[in-house]
């Protein structure tokens, strides 16, 4: 697991430093001078080429007096865990508490921006438990970060909490992506309830982002079961109406289904419900459980060995496939996934929390396998084993 944030770090500021909060990083000591003023330099041996706004001194001991920092610059001392930082990464530095957090990693497969920790659902298996705090300041940081993201990035995500709680500001963030990252796909994870307001939904169509998709969870074909899983009465109706509104205005929607003990037995019914009622969604994704956040608190109500629900998952995927709805399976290890599902299985786990288990040693399909969330050490299938090379054809 890659370290993405730190606090209590030592910061040294020059007398005249502006020290921006949000900055792009470079490890290039020959970086053109005009760029350096807004960038942070990744210093691995304590060197500090002149002109950068920030110096990120990795593995250097932060002595109170510190190194001499130029008047216009500032420096932050980072432990070795931050050695993964590289060219084009974007970080936020909170001077007050000596904090740093990585907002964007250029080399990563997936990059998501957390827009808020607040949420109006309270899902049993939430991996990012909501906090009722005023974190509206995050908006300004993300607005500042988006123009710094590499324009060759294939896709970025917005996540939360519940991003739509930002209201009109979410639209401004989407617009910022359209303006500054015109070739980058934008995937927004939301419970979709806010789109029950058709005008709110239409607003996102009107932005005209070329590649915008909302990932919206539907956990059951039965309202009471969905509402139970998300712990919010009436959520099912709002979410379904929200999906209808988005699609009415031509916005792309992905349906996300986390598979666990409360949802697995009706997966085929849910697939039929989607094919019949929401056949116009752009894709459906069945996802394995992430063993973090509330999942830990509700483990006995949620955990089922994925081996046990393969028949239901196969039937659901097959139903959608035959109904010509695009379908994928995320976060499932190949060795415990029915062979018929392999064509749908994706390497879906963000690199920074993607791991493999000791049992995976010597596995022939590891490169194709989603692997595990790092949190999976808490509990994972008893059937994990290395696969032999797959005989494609008899």
């Amino acid at each position: 697991m890659l370290t993405r944030r730190g606090t209590g770090l030592t910061i040294v500021k020059g007398s005249n430093a502006t020290a921006p909060r949000i900055l792009r990083l470079s490890g290039d000591a020959d970086r053109p001078m005009p760029l350096r003023k807004r960038e942070g330099y990744i210093s691995r041996r304590g060197e500090m080429p002149a002109g950068f706004a920030w110096y990120l001194l990795i593995g250097q001991s932060g002595e109170p007096d510190g190194p001499a920092v130029a008047a216009e610059s500032a420096a932050i001392f980072l432990p070795e865990e931050f050695a993964h930082l590289g060219d084009g990464d974007v970080v936020r530095i909170a001077e007050g508490r000596g904090g740093i957090s990585v907002l964007f990693q250029k080399a990563a497969r997936h990059n998501s921006f957390l827009l808020t920790e607040r949420c109006n659902n309270y899902c049993l298996m939430c991996s990012q438990p909501p906090r009722n705090v005023d974190d509206s300041w995050i908006y300004d940081d993300i607005m500042a970060a988006i123009p710094l993201v590499d324009t060759g990035t294939p896709e970025i995500g917005f996540t939360g909490g519940e991003p739509t709680l930002l209201g009109e500001r979410l639209g401004k963030l989407v617009h910022q992506c359209k303006s500054y990252l015109p070739r980058t796909g934008l995937h927004v994870l939301t419970n979709g309830r806010a789109f029950v307001d058709a005008n709110f939904a239409r607003g996102f169509a009107d932005i005209g982002h070329r590649d915008l998709m909302f990932g919206i969870p539907v956990y059951s074909d039965l309202s009471e079961v969905h509402d139970y899983v998300v712990q919010a009465d009436g959520a099912f109706d709002e979410t379904i109406r929200g999906i209808l509104n988005l699609k009415r205005f031509g916005v792309m929607v992905e349906i996300r289904v986390v598979v666990h003990k409360q949802t697995y037995d009706r997966l085929p019914d849910l697939a039929r419900f989607i094919a019949r009622n929401l056949t116009f969604v752009d894709q459906v994704v069945f996802m394995g459980l992430e063993m973090t956040g509330f999942t830990k608190a509700n483990l006995e109500d949620l955990w089922i060995d994925p081996v046990a629900y393969q028949p239901q998952l196969v039937e659901a995927v097959s139903y959608l496939e035959r109904s010509r709805v695009k379908v994928s399976v995320y976060n499932h290890q190949l060795c415990i996934t029915d062979k018929r599902l392999w064509p749908y299985a994706k390497r879906s786990i963000s690199d920074w929390k993607n791991e493999y288990m000791p049992e995976c040693e010597g596995c022939a399909v590891r490169q194709e396998c989603a692997g595990f969330f790092s949190s999976a050490r808490l509990r994972y299938s008893a059937h994990i084993r290395p696969m032999q090379a797959v005989p494609e054809r008899a």
């Binding site: 039965l222 079961v225 209808l244 409360q262 039929r272 419900f273 009622n277 509330f294 109904s323």
Partner: protein, 485 residues
């Protein structure tokens, strides 16, 4: 105390009872009933379950309750989004209507070099140019075609054998393309032909203008040639060679074939299907004779009864299902159309099973002589002397043709959702209205359904398809693929 509430808390509104959403039910077999809602979603349940449901006594904890809620047969206090979803699905099913007429048939000649005894269009011998369409008629007909607001326009050339008047096909194709340069519709062409007189020049023209070929193939050579005599007795040989030539020039999927069942076909369904497989077709449309034209005069239509045809059909269907289970992807197209209505939110545009009826709304026929008919069967009837469905001529205004009582009366009267016996039938969402057939057989647009072969045949097929899906999950999977073809 947990921060999380138990499932029971979210289930409590279910204790307040439920409302029934509109649905119909019809006996399937023995104790079982088929329930269907207005958008064609169906559920099979036992008689006691239907009674419990209608008496509002179905326990929310039962699997039946959950299925019926999920399929929008009932509404409880926990959720009412079903209303929005049902409305959306009804709009989707009826969407095609708002487009108005998409299929336009041009009978470019009634001449044919075949002499099929079952000919339903009453062809003429191939030396009489009196039965050819003139350029004046074609131009006026084309003007009418482009009055239709449909974004999709398909022009189908019919006969006789339309290739005997190929210059008229070219005239119409070019006239349509010229008009479409302005009208900008999604325009397609089909020639319904026996392929016996096809030439390299015709194929080159079809390739240039993306013209699809629909041909007739009744089965193996002996059966086909017996059904479809022509000078030389080589109809089958010419059809098979023609299919290959079309594929060579236009592409593998640019030719489709239809079969017609005669008394001689009844024992041969496997041979017929095998012939289609041998010729690399992906499916077959098992089709009975219709009561029009020479088929009536020669008594070929009356040569077998409805139960013989149904036995033929189900023998064929079961054989095709077996093939699919063995990994051969092959579809029976009548079943596929009905299954689309049963298993998807969409409404296939199949002319025999639509309500409101397809006449006028779905198709218009421009006859060689300038008459305009409400459907292909309408002009078949007219050749027998019955002009009931002749809407007018190409000299009439579009509005007069489409708003004439000759069209509106049969449309309104035959509308299945309000027709006696149909309106309460659980199979109505899958069925259609066929005022031309019922007028021909029973002298009535609506028809007397207990004695209607149309009703009897379709009910048997609906029941046959549902029973097979209910009995075998593997068949259900195969059918789902057919439904979404």
């Amino acid at each position: 105390m947990s921060r999380f509430k138990p499932l029971a808390d979210y289930q409590s509104p279910l204790g307040n009872g439920y409302q029934l959403l509109p649905f119909r039910f019809t006996a399937l077999d023995g104790d079982r009933y088929v329930l269907s809602n207005m958008t064609g979603e169906y559920h099979v349940a036992s008689r006691p379950t239907v009674e419990q449901l209608t008496k509002h006594q179905l326990p929310p904890s039962s699997d039946q309750y959950r299925s019926l809620k999920s399929k929008h047969f009932l509404l409880d206090d926990d959720s009412n989004v079903a209303i929005d979803l049902l409305a959306l699905k009804v709009r989707t099913k009826l969407e095609r209507l708002s487009n108005f007429t998409g299929l336009h048939l041009f009978v470019v000649t009634l001449r044919c070099e075949h002499s099929c005894p079952y000919c339903q269009v009453s062809r003429q011998n191939d030396d009489k140019s009196d039965f050819d369409m003139t350029p004046e008629v074609a131009d006026k007909a084309l003007d009418l075609v482009f009055r239709s607001p449909s974004p999709n326009i398909k022009i189908e050339f019919q006969g006789g054998e339309p290739m005997l008047n190929f210059p008229m096909i070219q005239h119409i194709v070019e006239g349509a393309l010229a008009r479409n340069a302005v009208a900008k519709r999604n325009l397609g062409f089909v020639i319904a032909t026996n392929l016996a007189v096809v030439t390299d020049e015709i194929l080159a023209y079809c390739e240039k203008h993306f013209i699809h070929i629909s041909t007739s193939l009744d089965g193996p050579a002996d059966l086909h040639n017996r059904n479809r005599p022509r000078p030389g007795g080589d109809s089958h040989q010419r059809a098979v060679l023609g299919i290959k030539r079309v594929r060579d020039v236009l592409g593998r999927d640019q030719v489709s074939a239809v079969m017609t069942t005669t008394a001689a076909s009844l024992e041969r369904v496997r041979d017929i299907i095998d012939e289609y497989i041998a010729l690399d077709f992906h499916g077959i449309f098992l089709r009975p004779l219709s009561p029009y034209g020479f088929a009536v005069k020669t008594k070929w239509f009356a040569a077998y009864d409805r139960s013989s045809w149904l036995k033929f059909y189900f023998d064929g269907l079961d054989y095709i299902i077996e093939l699919n289970k063995r990994g051969v992807r092959f579809t029976e197209f009548l079943a596929s159309t009905i299954l689309s209505k049963m298993l998807t939110p969409f409404q296939p545009g199949f002319v025999d099973l639509m309500s409101p009826a397809v006449i006028g709304l779905g198709a218009l026929v421009y006859n060689y002589d300038g008459s305009v008919y409400a459907s292909d069967e309408s002009r078949m009837l007219a050749e027998m002397g019955d002009q009931t469905f002749r809407l007018g001529t190409v000299d009439d205004a579009y509005e007069e043709l489409l708003l004439s009582d000759k069209l509106l009366d049969p449309l309104e009267q035959s509308f299945a959702a309000s027709a006696p016996m149909c309106s309460t039938c659980a199979f109505e969402p899958y069925c259609g209205a066929d005022p031309v057939y019922h007028h021909a057989m029973q002298r009535d647009f609506v028809g007397h359904k207990p004695t209607s072969d149309f009703c009897h045949r379709n009910m048997a097929i609906f029941r046959g398809l549902i029973s097979r899906m209910e009995a075998d999950p593997e068949i259900r999977q195969i059918f789902l693929t057919w439904a979404n073809r």
